[in-house]
């Protein structure tokens, strides 16, 4: 493991407890929703990290198509896996919050639906990659699919304007409807998630590279034996 990865891991070890402190102790209790609202800090931070991850899928795919460097494909592949992970956190924490507040685990609210569709698209990306495992064009196909999948992201954001929604609009262009201390807690949680994301993506990319090297070494060995 490289020194920078070790440093980032230690930083995650420090930042996550700090984020927990900000979310559970520093931020005031919300007047109407009560303690359950605290899940929002990790919910929103995961959502932002997840969306950023899907942008990286687009970026990695576009760069791969441009210069065919496998490192960009590792980047996009890792970003999809982590995007699914963080979006799964969003899709799990959302209903935990929604049940006491809305009285239902799930509603087909546009933003919920769109987030779920986005999650489905990137699970489909992974299934496509699995099916194309030994296909020579797997990287190009995955890059094209990732780029098209990312085009769904603006639809996620615009959908809130097209349909009436019951999802809370915490941040609008006019104002940020949050207590300053709550806002600080959101930012701290987001930074913690971002550092965690950086560590995970670096480790995953490295692992993908090693897997490929091992596979190619195995093939060379088989050829020699034959």
């Amino acid at each position: 493991m490289k020194t920078i990865d070790k440093f980032l891991l230690i930083l995650v070890g420090v930042l996550i407890p700090v984020a927990l402190y900000f979310a559970f102790i520093y931020a005031p209790t919300e007047m109407i929703m009560g303690e359950v609202q605290r899940i929002f800090y990790f919910h929103l931070a995961s959502a932002w990290t997840g969306l950023l991850s899907f942008f990286f899928v687009f970026l990695g795919g576009a760069l791969y198509l441009w210069n065919k460097n496998p490192k960009h494909d590792y980047f996009a592949h890792s970003a999809v896996e982590l995007g699914i992970l963080f979006m799964s956190i969003v899709l799990i924490t959302g209903p935990i919050w929604a049940k006491p507040v809305w009285g239902a685990w799930w509603t087909w609210d546009p933003r919920l639906t769109s987030t779920f569709v986005l999650w489905l698209i990137f699970v489909a990306y992974l299934l496509l990659r699995t099916s194309l495992k030994d296909h020579p064009a797997v990287r190009t196909y995955a890059a094209v699919y990732g780029i098209i999948g990312f085009i769904d992201v603006p639809i996620v954001w615009m959908s809130i304007h097209w349909w009436r929604t019951i999802h809370p609009k915490v941040i609008t262009p006019q104002k940020i409807a949050l207590d300053p201390r709550m806002w600080t807690a959101v930012l701290v949680c987001f930074v913690a998630m971002l550092v965690l994301y950086t560590v995970l993506i670096r480790l995953r990319m490295n692992l993908l590279q090693l897997e490929e090297q091992a596979e190619s070494a195995r093939e060379q060995l088989m050829e020699k034996q034959a």
Binding site: L65, V117, L120, I121, A124, Y125, L127, L128, S131, L132, H135, P136, A137, T140, Y141, A143, V144, Y145, I147, I148, G149, I151, D152, I155, S159, W162
Partner: protein, 230 residues
């Protein structure tokens, strides 16, 4: 003296080729039509206790029928090229990947629209809707959705060529991307079949056109990358 073929003539030749093959065999059209009809019948049974809500739920059945019938054809339209090894032959002709994409997409859309022209009156009959001017608007929604659907369908069908589990993988990769288009198609159909405000319908129609333009454009762009690797 032979003149170089124009873009339009190449695309038309490709469409004609696919449609002639389908017209001569008729097997795929008849099977797909029968499948679409079966979905309508099963949907009708499942909504038999819906009462007054049938008019709200029935459009979903129409679009499920559209989606699955289309999938059968999208699986078929490129598989036959692969089996006969004719895809490479087309690509060494003056046809570019762009021509191939537009030819396949338009042929698939024409096939699907023809299918729906037959299924739409049957749908009205089974679900007790009366034919009116709204039926023509609904046909327009079907035509527009068919273009978006077939664009992505042809792209992903080409991508999954030669895979062992291609029938499954095509639906898995196609449906999530297509979902926004289908949501708009279903919303528009509910407005039309329930005689709601046309102002709302025109809003959704504009959205449908926007989504179609995006989907056709990205699929056209993606096709050049995909065909390069076949």
């Amino acid at each position: 003296m032979n003149r170089a073929p124009t873009n339009m003539s190449i695309i038309l030749s490709l469409i004609r080729k696919d449609l002639i093959v389908e017209y001569r065999s008729k097997q795929v059209f008849v099977t797909t039509l029968f499948f679409g009809l079966l979905v309508l019948v099963v949907g009708n049974f499942s909504l038999s206790n819906a009462g007054e809500m049938t008019a709200t739920h029935a459009p979903g059945v129409l679009w499920i029928s559209f989606l699955f019938s289309g999938l059968l054809f999208l699986n078929h339209i490129l598989q036959s090229e692969k089996e006969e090894n004719t895809l490479s032959a087309i690509l060494i002709s003056p046809a570019t990947p762009g021509h191939l994409f537009l030819g396949k997409m338009l042929a698939a859309a024409i096939f699907l629209i023809s299918l729906e022209i037959i299924l739409l009156p049957i749908f009205h009959f089974l679900f007790n809707f009366s034919l009116s001017i709204n039926t023509l608007w609904l046909l327009l929604v079907i035509v527009l959705t068919a273009f978006g659907y077939c664009s992505l369908g042809v792209l992903f069908s080409t991508m999954s060529l030669g895979l062992k589990n291609r029938e499954i993988i095509l639906s898995v990769i196609l449906f999530p991307i297509l979902l926004p288009l289908l949501v708009i198609a279903v919303k528009s159909s509910i407005i039309l079949l329930n005689g709601l405000k046309m102002g709302q319908f025109f809003f959704w129609l504009k959205m449908l056109v926007c989504f179609n333009v995006i989907f056709v454009f990205v699929s056209y762009w993606g096709y050049f990358w995909i065909v390069e690797e076949i």
